[in-house]
Structure formats: structure tokens, C-alpha cells
């Protein structure tokens, strides 16, 4: 009984480590085959359209509402200490440092990452990838690399848009609706938000999250079982794995970027 349990556990761990090794090899292969994605720019542009432009609505609307909620909650807390003029700092720092990159990446994983996995998984299930190999076309260069780079380029732009919309949402609720002084809102924000430390680090974070989500999405699609059930499971795994990876990476990046003097 115990030995069978240990055997199952060992098999599971070995399988995971094999899969991790394959994922790492796949990541290197994408970089090695990226020449096609840059030479045939229309392939990458098409992917930026599918993962970036089509995610715009969900990112902009979510950003606006997250900013509005921050404005309301921030005002409610700050007014207890008589410092409602600090609402601008609270909204801007929360969005630029954390919520912008992280929430945009989670939405991106759900909207674009799952779509990429399903598309590549279906290509595998319908043997389109094998057909490409038969025609001496490398599927990593032709299918995977453009989708990967499309995601990596889109993510920082979407995160910036999320933060900008969130700040506008905070402004609408805080200044226009509740009546916080407009001058204080902007000036306190400008005095406290540092371009290099806050904004640039936020952009770096979203770039790293873009790599993580795109990598997980293309890998899960490429590694999916070529059945309807296999593709659906791969799509679910993309959302779960990339969401957890984003949150873990966020902790590590925050520890590097924002701690210390």
C-alpha cells in the first residue's frame, strides 16, 4: 500500500520534472527559431492583433473599474485620518506598481493565453503541425514563435493602458464624484511617483509577465493531447499555471525592485 503510494508519487514527480525540462528546451527553441517571427513581420503583427487589440476592451473596462473602486475605498480609508489629498498617491502607486501589471497579466492569461493554447492544441489535434513538418516547415518558427512574440509585445502596452485607465477611474470617482481637490490629487501623485522606480519597474514586471504567459500558453498548446479533451485540459492548465506563475513572479520581482533604500 505504502510502496504503491510512493511509486505513484515518484512517477508523478518524475513526470513533472521531465515536463519542466521539455518546457525549458521548448523556450530555448522558440528563441532560436525567432528569426522567422521577425523576418516575416506580418505573422507577428497578426498575433499582436489577436492577443493585443482584441484584449483591449476587457483591459480598458477592467482598468477603469479597478481605478474607480480604488478611488472609493481609498477615500473611505484616508478620510478617517484626514488625509484625502493623498488619494492620488494611493491610486497611482497601487496601479503602477502592482495592480496594473498583475491584473492585466491575469486578464491577458485568461483572454489571450487560453485562446493561443486552444488554437495550437487544435492545430495539433487536426495534424496541421505534422503536415507542416512533412512540408519541411518548422512549426515552432511558423506557428509558435510569432504567437510568443505577439504576446510579449502586447503585454506591457496592455498593462500601461490598464494603469492609465485606472488612474482616470480614480480621478473620476475621487475628484469629480466625491470632490477631492484636483490640484492635490495630481500634485501629490506627481511628487511621490518616481519614473524609474515605479513606472519603469512596472513596465519591466509586465514584460516578464508577458514572457511567462506567452511561454505557458504556447507550450501547453504544443504539448496538449491531440484530442478534444486534451485541448480543453491544456487550456485550463494554461490559465491555472500562468496565473500562479504570475503571482509567484510578482512576489520575487517586488522583493528585488521595491525593498531596501
Amino acid at each position: 500500500m505504502v510502496s504503491r503510494f510512493l511509486q505513484t508519487l515518484g512517477n508523478m514527480v518524475t513526470k513533472r520534472i521531465f515536463r519542466l525540462g521539455f518546457a525549458a528546451r521548448f523556450f530555448v527553441a522558440i528563441f532560436l527559431q525567432s528569426g522567422t517571427a521577425f523576418r516575416r513581420l506580418n505573422l507577428t503583427l497578426r498575433e499582436i492583433y489577436f492577443s493585443g487589440v482584441l484584449s483591449l476592451i476587457i483591459i480598458l473596462v477592467s482598468g477603469l473599474f479597478v481605478g474607480m473602486v480604488l478611488g472609493l475605498q481609498g477615500y473611505d480609508t484616508l478620510q478617517r485620518y484626514g488625509s484625502t489629498e493623498a488619494l492620488g498617491i494611493l491610486v497611482a502607486l497601487s496601479l503602477v506598481r502592482e495592480l496594473g501589471p498583475v491584473v492585466a497579466a491575469l486578464l491577458f492569461a485568461s483572454r489571450a493565453g487560453s485562446a493561443i493554447t486552444a488554437e495550437i492544441g487544435l492545430m495539433k489535434a487536426t495534424e496541421q503541425l505534422s503536415a507542416m513538418e512533412m512540408m519541411a516547415v518548422n512549426p515552432i518558427a511558423r506557428v509558435v514563435a510569432p504567437r510568443f512574440w505577439g504576446g510579449v509585445v502586447s503585454m506591457p502596452l496592455l498593462a500601461a493602458l490598464f494603469s492609465a485607465m485606472g488612474i482616470l477611474g480614480g480621478y473620476l470617482v475621487g475628484v469629480q464624484l466625491i470632490g477631492v481637490d484636483e490640484g492635490s490629487f495630481w500634485s501629490q501623485m506627481q511628487a511621490s511617483v518616481d519614473f524609474q522606480k515605479d513606472i519603469l519597474n512596472g513596465v519591466i514586471k509586465s514584460f516578464v509577465f508577458g514572457i511567462i504567459v506567452s511561454w505557458v500558453a504556447v507550450f501547453e498548446g504544443y504539448d496538449a493531447d491531440p484530442t478534444a479533451e486534451g485541448v480543453s485540459r491544456a487550456t485550463t492548465r494554461t490559465v491555472v499555471t500562468s496565473s500562479l506563475a504570475i503571482l509567484a513572479a510578482d512576489f520575487i520581482l517586488t522583493a528585488f525592485m521595491f525593498t531596501g533604500a
Binding site: N42, Y49, V53, A160, L161, S163, A164, V193, F195
Partner: protein
Amino acid sequence: MTRTTIDLWVGFFVALGLAALLFLALKVGNLAAASAGETYTIQAKFDNIGGLKVRAPVKSAGVVVGRVSEIRFDPESYQAVVKMQLDTRYRFPRDTFVTINTSGLLGEQYIGLDAGGDTDMLKSGDVVKKTQSAVVLEKLISQFMFNKAAEDSGGSGKK
């Protein structure tokens, strides 16, 4: 969808993303105001800088006239040396008094300049002599407690 339509949408998306970045840099981070104008550097030595940080504002009469550019420890005098970059539009006399203040009770720390009456003005690289360190709240409280205790014990002695 034709290729031209995709190009148009992607171009629109990239322009929108860059505009958002520009908005964050200029309107939120105030990068334009931070890097605008010529500056000159002066130094000041303090016994204690408290929680002063690089890029903290240097204010005179409440107006931001520069930023802290470097903070280091001087191993010879055992003091903190603070370098400040001041806007060339603003000149200060050589006997200007430099203090480390706190905005509000728990706000961020900044440097305050109180202009003196000297006719010579500070030049780039000058070291300001008259400084006052940051007020360390713990020290102030312990001093108050010590005085209070001394007062109380003195009072009971008289009785």
C-alpha cells in the same frame, strides 16, 4: 481580415499603448518637471539625516527648488554628506541655513533652505556650513521622558 486592416489596428493599439506610457511618465510620474532645466550642485553635512532619500525635494519657502542627488557617509567626520542639485534659476547666499524637515507628522522628509543675508552666492561644488539635522522622534521622546523623570524625582526630594 486583410493585412492592411490588421496593420491599421495594430498601429492603433501600439500608439494607444505608447500614449498610455507617456501619460504615466509625464502626468503621473512628472518626468518632465523632474528633468527640466539646468542645475548646479551643492553639498551639506549632517549629523543625522533620518529617513531622507535620494530624489527627495529641496524646498525654499515651500517651493521645490531642487532635488537630493546623492547621500553618502563621510568616514573622516562620521557625518552624512548630502549632495543637492538646485535649479540654476534660484541662487542662494553662502550663509543659507539647510535643515531636514518632515512634511506633516509622518510624511516624507525633505530639505529646507532658509536664505541668509550674505552678498556672495553659493556656487556649484560649495559645501554649506550651517545645517540642522533631522529630528529623530525616538530621541525627542526619550529626552522628554528623561527630563520629566528628573523633574519628578527633584520635586519629590523637596517634599
